[in-house]
């Protein structure tokens, strides 16, 4: 079953079992709901932006291992980054997850590179991108809901 190991890498499973920054954030500057109607993945992403920097980011929700791990890894990756850096990270992750072959070298993305395995599972790409689209919506729009369809 080595091929499943590409998708469910230890790092991803660890984030699934112990999601980081999995909490409500009453003083968030933005709270956006991400919803994947196809599989019922549902999360709420909170960000607190001050002086152009992501001071805090967290999420709550229910979903498959890939969507939960992706959201958890996202919070670790963008914590403390400038909004501009976070936006660049969204662009890189979007490229990594949706383009095949991708122009992004997974090794350069650190832990996030572990999500590259989702490529081989077209039906699961949306699980991995949900939290990233939610972040993009939180940083760039006034919308409170985003769905991937």
């Amino acid at each position: 079953m080595s091929d499943l190991d590409d998708l469910y890498q230890e790092l991803i499973l660890d984030h699934k079992r112990h999601p980081r920054n999995f909490r409500d954030m009453p003083d968030a500057t933005r709270a956006v709901d991400g919803h994947n109607p196809l599989c019922g993945d549902q999360l709420r992403l909170f960000v607190k932006v001050a002086d152009g920097r992501v001071e805090d980011v967290s999420f709550i929700g229910v979903g498959c291992a890939i969507s939960m791990a992706s959201a958890s890894m996202l919070t670790e990756a963008v914590m403390g980054k400038t909004v501009q850096e976070a936006q660049q990270l969204f662009a890189d992750m979007h490229d990594l997850l949706t383009r095949n072959p991708s122009g992004i070298d997974p090794a350069e993305l650190g832990n996030l590179g572990a999500l590259a395995g989702v490529h081989e599972y077209p039906m699961r790409v949306k699980c991995a991108t949900l939290s990233w689209h939610t972040l993009d919506t939180a940083l760039n729009t006034d919308d409170d809901v985003v769905t991937t369809e």
Partner: protein, 415 residues
């Protein structure tokens, strides 16, 4: 993968030979023999159906009911012969009661549209908490148009209709009971005779959603005494894009047309159009001719099977699947009705149905993960989605054993 040592055969049912009728089942997926357990979504098609459709396009293709040339005659003959096969299969009184539509969804929309025109604000439609969206949303659209009221028969934790509540839900304003014969999300077989008897006591006509029933049960619409019966060809080992609305003739006759166009008219002038008789009045436009022919052939295929043996075999498959899955750590079966078709819906602690679907797929096991177009059922059980193994008479005990084994593996991997 485990292979059970006991030869799991069933008297009178030669599954090996039946499987040979379905060419698609012969393939491997990710290096494993395909175990197709998604039959509630759609069933596979026997070779004879594929050949009938191919043969129609190769030899007989012509529009129906329109030409006098040889091809038109052959096409029309085959088309109407299929209608007769459908009539015979569900024991309708007349082919005038067999309306071809795209599927169950369109059949119910037709009733909501045509029957719906006679309803007034405050009139009530009674459905159940285990309906497919196809038997919810058309009534909600009608509610927006006409201000009708939707009432819902609740279900019990076992996944059965709460019959104690049924009688009190009928009111003097109830105009239709529209209910599923078999639940696609739970596998429950509803006691349709009792339901129809109760509706009769209140003078209310009944529509049955038979999409999941006909692939497993023999249905006699006269014996049932229902008013409408809707089903889809693709769930009945026939092609996609074709389905049937059975309507009691005396009721269909009183309904206005559904769509307008060719085929459904007798004469047209700009002042006045007169409509064709049944069933053509409800079949505007060129129909899915090859689909109808394929459906007719699928029904003939089913008719030559030993149906009692098939039913007994499916019951044993269900029993085996229930026992095997119940044994898997962390697994909970959703839907434990006393009377079920061969379908097991389940959730597993720490393993989301979507991950389950992926893991099983990598072992050649095709199951459905999701809300099964029955979101109210999911919210009743407090789950976002379930995994569903939906069996047909061509599935094997070995496939169920492989499923149980893969479920254990999924839990080891993800929990």
């Amino acid at each position: 993968m485990t292979v059970s040592n006991e030869p799991m055969t069933s008297p009178g049912w030669d599954v090996t030979s039946v499987r040979r009728d379905f060419p698609i089942l012969e393939q491997s997926v990710h290096g494993y023999p395909l175990a197709y357990l998604d039959n509630a979504a759609t069933t596979q098609k026997p070779r004879v159906v594929l050949e009938a459709m191919d043969g129609y396009y190769r030899r007989d293709n012509a529009n129906v009911h329109r030409g006098v040339h040889a091809l038109a005659e052959r096409a029309t003959g085959a088309f109407e012969a299929a209608r007769e096969s459908v009539r015979r299969f569900i024991n309708a009184r007349s082919t005038r009661e067999i309306v071809f539509v795209r599927g169950t969804t369109e059949a119910i929309n037709l009733v909501a549209s045509s029957f719906g025109q006679r309803l007034r604000e405050g009139d009530e439609i009674l459905i159940s908490a285990m309906e497919h969206h196809a038997n919810i949303v058309p009534w909600q659209l009608l509610r927006e148009r006409s201000g009708i009221v939707l009432r819902v028969v609740p279900i019990t934790p076992a996944g059965e209709l709460d019959l104690d509540r049924l009688s009190s839900l009928f009111t003097p304003r109830t105009r239709l009971l529209a209910i599923t014969h078999v639940s696609n999300a739970l596998g429950t077989v509803n006691p349709v005779r009792e339901l129809i008897a109760e509706a009769r006591r209140h003078g209310v006509p009944v529509l049955l959603d038979g999409a999941q029933a006909l692939p497993h049960l023999r249905v006699d619409v006269q014996a049932l005494d229902c008013d409408f019966y809707a089903f889809s060809g693709h769930k009945l080992f026939g092609p996609t894009g074709i389905g049937v609305l059975y309507g009691r003739e005396s009721l269909l006759e009183t309904l206005p047309p559904y769509q307008g166009g060719g085929e459904m008219i007798r004469t047209v002038s700009f002042e006045k159009t007169t409509f064709a008789g049944l069933p053509h009045r409800f079949e505007a436009g060129t129909p899915d001719i090859s689909g109808v022919i394929g459906l007719g052939r699928a029904i003939e295929y089913l008719e030559q099977l030993d149906w009692d043996a098939a039913t007994a075999y499916e019951a044993r498959l269900l029993e085996h699947a229930t026992a095997c899955l119940q044994d898997v750590p962390g697994l909970r079966i959703i839907g434990q009705a006393r009377h079920k078709v061969a379908l097991v819906s389940f959730v597993m602690e720490d393993v989301h149905p979507h991950d389950m679907g992926t893991i099983l797929d990598r072992r050649g096991l095709a199951v459905r993960a999701g809300h099964h177009c029955a979101m109210p059922v999911m919210s009743y059980y407090g789950v976002p989605a379930t995994s569903r193994a939906a069996m047909a008479f061509y599935n094997t005990f070995d496939e169920i054993d492989r499923l149980a084994e893969a479920l254990r593996y999924a839990r080891e991997l993800l929990a």
